[in-house]
């Protein structure tokens, strides 16, 4: 058990900016910081528990059918988090829409299960998944904060105005799909330029 398993996923091997995994939700739900927080929470729940379970069952799973087994584990967890969100935060679940059940096929989660949890000890797997979740969450918040600020002119999280109106006529394009690609591309370019990742 090493602490690097946790820290590597936050910046150096960031899911979105370094591994380019989980780009689909990053593009789709980062219109608002609120959605990004919800998605980050859901992914953290699924990623940590799936890494834990996959790491525990890795000895019993025949190698030929390992991917279907991982998917069953992940899909079950996604169903749980979907029901929880629908019950306790229906508006957030509605905002996330199809991208909530689609966490099942998020390459970040299957990627960590296949590449890490299925061949490492349980403790390492949990640390890895926690680090990856933090990194993924930070990336989502970063992208969504930029998009909400430029595209809506202000940042509102669960009814609280975090950043008051700074742009009187915001750029609507930033809330559309091109805005997501532009934001991720520019952030990636800046990070590569300064060798952050």
């Amino acid at each position: 058990m090493r602490i690097q398993e946790f820290t590597k996923g936050i910046i150096k091997r960031n899911a979105v900016f370094s591994l380019a995994l989980g780009l689909c939700p990053t593009l789709a739900v980062t219109i608002m910081v609120e959605n990004a927080l919800g998605m980050a929470f859901a992914v953290t729940f699924v990623l940590v528990l799936s890494n834990l379970i996959v790491s525990v069952i890795k000895g019993f799973v025949p190698p030929d059918v390992r991917i279907p087994c991982f998917i069953v584990v992940i899909a079950s967890l996604v169903t749980v988090i979907e029901f929880i969100m629908r019950a306790y935060s229906p508006t957030l679940a509605e905002h996330l829409g199809i991208f909530l059940p689609l966490i099942t096929v998020n390459c970040l989660i299957l990627g960590r299960a296949e590449a890490f949890a299925s061949r490492r000890p349980v403790a390492d797997s949990i640390l890895d998944s926690l680090g990856m979740s933090v990194g993924f969450g930070l990336a989502l918040i970063m992208v969504s904060a930029i998009r909400e600020l430029l595209g809506s002119g202000k940042i509102v999280i669960f009814g609280h105005e975090i950043v008051p109106t700074v742009l009187s006529s915001p750029a609507v394009a930033m809330t559309l799909a091109p805005g997501a690609f532009l934001t991720i591309g520019i952030l990636l370019a800046i990070m590569r330029r300064f060798r952050v990742i």
């Binding site: 006529s169 915001p170 750029a171 609507v172 394009a173 930033m174 091109p178 532009l182 370019a189």
Partner: protein
């Protein structure tokens, strides 16, 4: 050793023409003077302010971007041209920060992010325009009549028959700063074609495709025409669609851009016909009244594919031999 007897060892090309990037850009800017002057004459001094803001922003952004990229800034006029073209396809009422944002976006994202002049896939001026149109749709559709600046819609939004064809031709209609006068654009375009800076095939096939398809797909179709009067109406509507909107500006000055359009003659014809079909599709069934900017950008995306299929004849091979080895 005396100058002139030196053996020069250099990579190809060995034969160089006197035409330079700066020369071509200057010629295109000169060709845009009639459209620019007519725009300022029709829509007043605010149009001039928009043009100046756009050019300054384009040049300034290119300067900063090239510095960041660690390259030398060369005043080759391409940024000036991008700024001018962007301003000419903006409504005359836009607040001054819009050309500044649009030109900066077009140059930074549309051009320098791809590696600078010669590497951009999409026309930077149109990238800037489309970003503005997507971001601030309300501000980008505030049209006014020439001279007295009364709010109105563009001829394309109002539909065929709303303005006389002659007004469309000389530019006495609502529209973007530099796009309304087909006559002024035609003067500049004729100059460029006469100087052989642009290929006459592009505007001919682009505008021709739109005119030809509108014979069939307009409100008055040639297929339904029974007598001479209705045939005249069909012809008039076809002319309306050729002169209205930004088709002339796009056909002469944007679809002929060296960097973002195909290299071969046949490739350019395919580009122009494709863009013409897209314009007709957007105008007749699309959600926007005008589609010139989108049509050129979409065909810009097809340019590498067109160039891959239609290759220039390799020197020394037989004519009509496709592929060239």
């Amino acid at each position: 050793m005396k100058e002139g007897t030196k053996l020069v060892v250099s990579p190809s090309p060995h034969v160089k023409d006197a035409i330079s990037v700066r020369g071509i850009m200057s010629a295109v800017i000169v060709a845009l003077i009639p459209a620019t002057v007519s725009g300022i004459y029709l829509f007043g001094l605010h149009a001039l302010a928009v043009i100046i803001a756009s050019i300054l922003s384009a040049v300034g952004t290119e300067f900063v971007a090239l510095k960041l990229m660690g390259r030398k800034f060369v005043m080759d006029g391409s940024a000036v041209l991008t700024g001018l073209l962007l301003a000419l396809c903006l409504p005359p009422t836009v607040p001054l920060w819009m050309p500044i944002v649009g030109a900066a976006f077009g140059i930074a994202i549309g051009k320098c992010a791809f590696g600078g002049l010669g590497h951009n896939i999409f026309n930077p001026a149109l990238v800037g325009r489309v970003f503005l149109a997507l971001s601030w749709p309300a501000l980008m559709t505030r049209w006014v009549t020439p001279f007295d600046a009364v709010s109105t819609a563009t001829p394309l939004a109002k539909g065929f028959g709303s303005v006389p064809i002659f007004d469309l031709f000389v530019g006495n209609v609502a529209g973007c700063i530099g796009e309304t006068s087909a006559l002024a654009i035609l003067i500049g375009g004729a100059f460029l074609i006469a100087m052989r800076y642009i290929d006459w095939r592009v505007p001919l096939f682009y505008i021709g495709t739109v005119g030809f398809l509108m014979l069939f797909l307009g409100q008055n179709s040639i297929l339904d025409a029974s007598d001479l009067d209705s045939l005249v109406e069909v012809g008039k509507e076809s002319l309306f669609h050729m002169f209205a909107g930004g088709l002339f500006l796009g056909a002469f000055f944007m679809a002929t851009d060296y960097v973002t359009t195909p290299m071969t003659k046949l490739g350019r014809i395919i580009f122009a016909v494709g863009a013409g079909i897209l314009v007709v599709a957007i105008r007749t069934v699309g959600g926007y009244p005008e589609g010139v900017a989108f049509s050129i950008l979409i065909m810009n995306g097809f340019t590498p594919l067109i160039d891959r299929v239609i290759k220039p004849r390799v020197y020394g091979t037989k004519r009509g031999f496709v592929g060239g080895g």
